[in-house]
Amino acid sequence: MPKDVKLTKDQERRIKATLKRIRCGLRRSQRDQFDEPAHLFAPELINAKQE
C-alpha cells in the first residue's frame, strides 16, 4: 500500500473547517500573565526503583 496517500477534497475541507473553528475559539481567550498551561511534570513518579 502506498505510504503517501493524497487527501481527498472532502478531507481537506474538513481539516480547514476544524482548524478554523479551533483557532477562532482559541483567539477569543482572555490572557492573564500569571496563567500557566496545565503542565504538571513530576519526574519522581517515573523512578520505579524509588532510589
Binding site: G25, R28, A38
Partner: protein, 451 residues
C-alpha cells in the same frame, strides 16, 4: 430509573444465594446476543471462551470459593481495551488484528475477581467520534429503536447493556464516550475523575482526556465495579496518588448548579425531562451560566486532536488508508496545530477549572442533560435545538467534553423518555477525586426520578 433488565447487583445476590449459576447466566447472555445480532453490538464473541470461564466460576461457587461477589458475572469489554483472549481492533483497519496477549489493568482486575470476560464491543473507530456510525464492522443500532444511533464511542457497550445481553460493560470516555451511549440507550454510565482509574492497556485517544468507565443497568451496579477501576497502577503514572474505592458516602441535600445559557442549549423536550427530574429531587438546585464556553470547547478540541495525532503519527505515515476518511482528516488537522496553540489550549484548561471552582456559587455537583437531543436517526447529519444548528457529532459531545477538560468525575443516569420512547439522560459532574460523593448525589437524584 432502572430499566427492566436484570442488574448486576441482582445477579450478585442471585449467585450468592444459589438461585443463579454462572453457567446459566453466561448461557442466557449468549442466547440474548444471538437473538439480537441486529444491534451489531459485538466485534468478537467466542462461545467456548465464555462458557469455559463460566464453568470455572460455577465450580468455584460450588466449592464455596468464589473469588469475589462478581465471580461469574458476564461483562462486555469495549474493543479498545487489550484482552489476552480476544483481538483488540478499536474497530479500525489501521490496527493489527492479532490478540494482544495481555489484559488492560482493569480487565485483569475483573478477570482476577472471576468476572466472565464476555465479548469485545463495537465502537466508533479509535473512539474518535461520538455517534458510533464509523466502525469497520458497521454501525451499532439502538435497542430502543433500531432506526436510531446508539451514540458513541462506546456504542456497542451501551447497546449490549440496554438490551439486557449483559448487565454491565466497559467503555472509555474522552469527550463523553461512556455517558453519550448511556444516555442514548438508557443505561447508567460513569466516568471516573482523571487519574483515579488506570488507563494502562486501553488504547489511547487523548492521554490527558481519556478515562475508562463502566456502563451498567442500575446505579447500584457501579459500586460493585469501581473497586476494579480505582487505585494506583505503576503502569499509569497518573494514578500514582489514586485512592482505592471507599464505600459509604452519603448526601442529605446536595447543592446542584444547573448550567444554562450560551453553549448549554438543549431541546425543549430534553429540558422538560431534566427540570422535572430536578424538581423531584431532594436537592438545592440553582441555575448559573458559565462564560466563554465556545473558547473552552476549542481548547478541548485542540488538545484532543493534537494528542490523537501524536499517538497515531507513525501509524498514519505507515497506513493512512487504514483509517476511515473522517478519522484521517481529524488526525491531519491535529498535525497542523502548532505547539503554541496547544499550550494556549492547556492554559484555557486551567482557566476553566478555576472558573468552575471559583466563579460559580458553591456546589456539590454540576448538572446538565447528558445530550441536548434524543438519539438521532441513522444518517441524520445535523441537529437543531435551542436555536442552534450543529452536526450530530457536536450535538453528542455538546455537554460532555467539559468533564474531560476539567478532569471531573461524571455520571449519566436515565431521567425519562421522549414522546417517541427514546431515553433522556441527566448528567452530574462532581469534584475531582470525589467519585464516591458523586455516586451518593446520583443516588439522591435517582431516588427522586424513581419517585
Amino acid at each position: 430509573m432502572q430499566n427492566k433488565n436484570e442488574s448486576l447487583s441482582q445477579q450478585v445476590t442471585a449467585l450468592a444465594d444459589g438461585s443463579h449459576t454462572a453457567l446459566a447466566l453466561a448461557e442466557r447472555s449468549l442466547e440474548r446476543a444471538n437473538e439480537l445480532v441486529a444491534l451489531n453490538a459485538f466485534v468478537s464473541l467466542d462461545e467456548s471462551i465464555v462458557l469455559a470461564q463460566a464453568a470455572a466460576a460455577t465450580e468455584r461457587r460450588k466449592s464455596g470459593n468464589p473469588k469475589s461477589p462478581i465471580d461469574g458475572i458476564p461483562i462486555a469489554i469495549k474493543d479498545n481495551y487489550l484482552t489476552k483472549d480476544y483481538p483488540t481492533t478499536a474497530c479500525s483497519d489501521a490496527t493489527p488484528l492479532e490478540p494482544a496477549g495481555i489484559d488492560a489493568t482493569i480487565v485483569a482486575n475483573l478477570r482476577a475477581a472471576g468476572a466472565v470476560i464476555f465479548a469485545k464491543t463495537n465502537m466508533h473507530e479509535w473512539a474518535y467520534g461520538a455517534t458510533n456510525s464509523t466502525s469497520n464492522i458497521g454501525f451499532t443500532r439502538n435497542p430502543n429503536n433500531l432506526g436510531h444511533i446508539t451514540g458513541g464511542s462506546s456504542g456497542g457497550s451501551g447497546a449490549a447493556v440496554a438490551a439486557g445481553i449483559v448487565s454491565a460493560a466497559l467503555g472509555s470516555d474522552t469527550g463523553g464516550s461512556v455517558r453519550i451511549p448511556s444516555s442514548a440507550c438508557g443505561t447508567y454510565g460513569f466516568k471516573p475523575s482523571y487519574g483515579r482509574a488506570s488507563r494502562h492497556g486501553v488504547l489511547p485517544l487523548s492521554w490527558s482526556l481519556d478515562a475508562p468507565g463502566p456502563l451498567t443497568t442500575a446505579l447500584e451496579d457501579i459500586p460493585h465495579l469501581l473497586p476494579y477501576f480505582f487505585g494506583p497502577d505503576p503502569r499509569d503514572i497518573t494514578t500514582k496518588s489514586a485512592r482505592l474505592y471507599q464505600a459509604g458516602s452519603t448526601f442529605e441535600r446536595p447543592r446542584l448548579i444547573h448550567l444554562t445559557g450560551a453553549g448549554f442549549e438543549r431541546s425543549d423536550e430534553v429540558d422538560g425531562v431534566i427540570n422535572s427530574a430536578l424538581a423531584n429531587a431532594n436537592a438545592l438546585v440553582a441555575a448559573a451560566e458559565l462564560s466563554n464556553v465556545p473558547t473552552y470547547f476549542a481548547a478541548w478540541e485542540a488538545i484532543l486532536h493534537c494528542e490523537a495525532s501524536a499517538y497515531h503519527n507513525a501509524l498514519l505515515q505507515e497506513n493512512a488508508q487504514g483509517f476511515s476518511a473522517v478519522t484521517r482528516a481529524h488526525l491531519e488537522a491535529g498535525k497542523q496545530l502548532t505547539g503554541v496553540e496547544l499550550l494556549e489550549a492547556q492554559r484555557l484548561r486551567m482557566q476553566l477549572v478555576r472558573a468552575l471552582f471559583n466563579e460559580l456559587p458553591g456546589w456539590d455537583a454540576l448538572v446538565l442533560p447528558t445530550l441536548p437531543v434524543t438519539a438521532p436517526p441513522h444518517g441524520e447529519d445535523w441537529q437543531e435545538f435551542g436555536g442552534r444548528r450543529v452536526t450530530t457529532q457536536d450535538a453528542m459531545t455538546w455537554f460532555c467534553w467539559l468533564g474531560n477538560l476539567a478532569g471531573l468525575p461524571c455520571i449519566s443516569i436515565p431521567a425519562g423518555n421522549s414522546k417517541l420512547g427514546l431515553p433522556i439522560g441527566l448528567m452530574l459532574m462532581g469534584k475531582p477525586g470525589g467519585d464516591e460523593d458523586l455516586l451518593a448525589i446520583a443516588r439522591v437524584i435517582d431516588n427522586g426520578i424513581a419517585g
